[in-house]
Symmetry: C2
Subunit: 250 residues, 2 copies
Amino acid sequence: MSMATTTSNTSKDATAVNSCNHCNLKKICFPSGLSTDELSTFEGSVEKTLKIAKKEKLYSRGDPLTSVYAIKAGSIKTYLSTSKGQAQVLGFHLPGDLLGFDGFADDHHTSDAIAMEDTLLCELPMTNFENLCEVLPGLRKVMMQQVGSEISRHHSLVLTLGQMQTEERLATYLLRLSCYYNSRGYSCSQFNLPMPRHDLANFLGMAPETLSRMFAKLEKLNVISINRREVTIDNMDALMDLSHELCMKD
Amino acid sequence: MSMATTTSNTSKDATAVNSCNHCNLKKICFPSGLSTDELSTFEGSVEKTLKIAKKEKLYSRGDPLTSVYAIKAGSIKTYLSTSKGQAQVLGFHLPGDLLGFDGFADDHHTSDAIAMEDTLLCELPMTNFENLCEVLPGLRKVMMQQVGSEISRHHSLVLTLGQMQTEERLATYLLRLSCYYNSRGYSCSQFNLPMPRHDLANFLGMAPETLSRMFAKLEKLNVISINRREVTIDNMDALMDLSHELCMKD
DNA sequence: CGAGATGTTGATGGGCCTCAATAGTCGTGG
DNA sequence: CCACGACTATTGAGGCCCATCAACATCTCG
């Protein structure tokens, strides 16, 4: 819908040659652990960039696992639903993140993934993936790392939901986001929340009203400033004091 | 301490020949996806059974990842700690479960694992593991499945902690345990809780007192009976009504 | 401009935590 | 075998954190 800044690709462009090598996310995406030789083998197996519109679903619970995805631009929300219709946001996925591991257990996705904005993805079909794993030791390594990161992130979320108070949860998440942006070369003290209040509140296991109050509280404490979705961390030390998660890299 | 039904192995026996093929857990452990040929290759790389005593740690946060483990008998609790000293139990691991994936991200464990009782484990050193992944397609497949299961389990736990009330959380966990025992060939309507109240309450994100009250409430509703750690499910349908998790296999 | 989505703020009530006391169970040793 | 202390579990009373309901403000976009 928006202007096509990139090279020619209409909505149904056929397997264009992907260039992981020129991608600015190569350091954190699949290529991160691949040698030059491996990378050229790998590139050929990545399907052309996939584009999905805001609010469009990437996959749903129960769908067969066909591919794993890397986010090139935009953002994806994954969530789980109960039989009563409530949902729990499992994570917000930003450029450089990999998606789809939840389907590894039985070749079917166990969660839903939806675009929070117009999003560009690289798609790696599972058939290619399995073949590549056979011949590329580096890819196996990267996969293990990515999967390990995902497990660690979930551990941390469980700790947050199970033990922390609302203020602490928010502080912890802001720090995490700060680290994320820092690792991607952006400012760690000023950034935009990629999601609406409603989704963030859900993710953090609280009511939107409570989240709003906690933002107000942190502002009053001169720890952060927030305007709409723009967050400024004014006192990083204080924010770290409010969070009690054990420090972690990434 | 119990009689050694297996071949000779005292406490420091060197790499005894493991027999996955004769293990009664072969259907759910590593061997589940291996062909006969693959299995014989695999067996040779599994270190001899490891025995750890109750309350002994298998690994701690920060330890280098040396091996992945399969539980042969006993039970292991994994948990995470905050900087304030509170802990969050991440999971209870029973015979047939695999352990240690949390270290894949950067070759160091990000959680702690401790034995809840005297426990027997099979150990697969990472060096062997990586080599085996190269030559055994079946092992890669099994690993992906196991890792996918772990991710799905955590998703489900996040949903439980983030959205459910205490009664619902307990009902959901009892059902899950029931399924586990059923899949292992035990009764799904009568079983023992493998952990003390304190740990289960922590895992479910509630105070031990609240857990106790919820047990009492479920008994009053004639849904379950509980005596110490022995649980009997008297009305499975009612229990499923109380839980609102979307049904899942495993 | 108007309708819907999004976000903030206030009032109220309830679910669950905390504190505390009691009871039951287990391990250890006299 | 029983006694003792430590651990585990249950039950009650009180209060707080946070969900809920509601009103209002602000932004987005056709």
